[in-house]
């Protein structure tokens, strides 16, 4: 798991589901910026922006991210991926140059 600072990129093709990608910036061990992209379905769509806002400032730690994601997924309906897939794509993101 990368600690400290950096720009990370993650990609996950959910088995039997859709593709979820994420770009994130880590500063001092915390998520500074995060953006999800992909061909999944989320209802209502605009909620994705709320998720990205909520994750900002959160420690880059699986437990903390999982908590935030579980909370968020109670308010949306997602097809082609689940909360654990969104956690996995963040946690498996790799440092880019």
């Amino acid at each position: 798991m990368p600690a400290g600072n950096g720009i990370l990129k993650g990609e996950l093709k959910v088995r039997g589901g859709k593709l979820v990608k994420c770009h994130l910036m880590i500063k001092e061990g915390k998520i500074d910026e995060i953006r999800f992209t992909g061909d999944f379905f989320m209802y209502p769509e605009e909620k994705i922006e709320e998720l990205e806002k909520e994750l900002r400032g959160i420690e880059f730690n699986e437990g903390k991210i999982k908590n935030a994601m579980t909370r968020f997924f109670k308010d949306v309906e997602v097809l082609g991926a689940c909360a654990d897939d969104f956690v996995a794509v963040v946690m498996n993101a790799k440092l880019t140059k």
Binding site: K21, D39, I48
Partner: protein
Amino acid sequence: MIFTGSPFTHMEKWRLLLHSSQDAFTNMAIDETLLISGKPTIRLYKWKPSAISIGYFQGMKEEVNLDACKKAKVDVVRRISGGGAVFHDREGEITYSLVAPEKMLPKNILASCSKICSSIACGLGHLGLNAEFSPLNDIVAGGKKISGSAQTRRYGNVLQHGTILLDLDTNLMFSLLNVSDKKIEDKNIDKASKRVTCLREELGSVDKEEVTKALIKGFEEGFGIELVEGKTDEKEIERIDELREKYASREWNFKR
């Protein structure tokens, strides 16, 4: 009381919009306008110039080879619905949209998608093609995708739109899209192009009029409705003009 007809022969009437080719921004503005109106409608349309539409959550630069699109004079637009990138060839496909109040469709999104896609598959059956809904959002023939759809729900209404492939220039399509290897890694094939087919490949020849008629019949049978050709009303036309600006804007198209 005057007897006006047997209740047994009563069939609900939905509006049918048969639109000729329009540009990507107008097409997406019309679909959103219909979603806001919520009047039960089936719309069949084409794209001129050819265009790529991407899903609400997709990254424009990630999905689309913008230089290749510019050279080929292909427009790019972000949809209001999720799902993947689609190449709308001006001659090679028919796009449909279906709009109805949520209460007229199954509450479950996948079930409603299945109902709509099965109606389309039934329509394709009238052309002699054995096609079926393939979750989450495809219609397949012989295991290959021939149609893809995307659904959104807002204002208490449902919009589902999708493409039915008539002809396919695989090389052109894949030169315009950046298809991720990850996307196909859990499917037992080596190339994205082997996943897709079109009516010409399956049936030999295709007549657009025949396909249109078959799709209309499929929707009528699938939903037990009668489609009556109509027009967009004045209020809708005004809204289409407003929304077209959004869909033509860099701010909307490049927001991800």
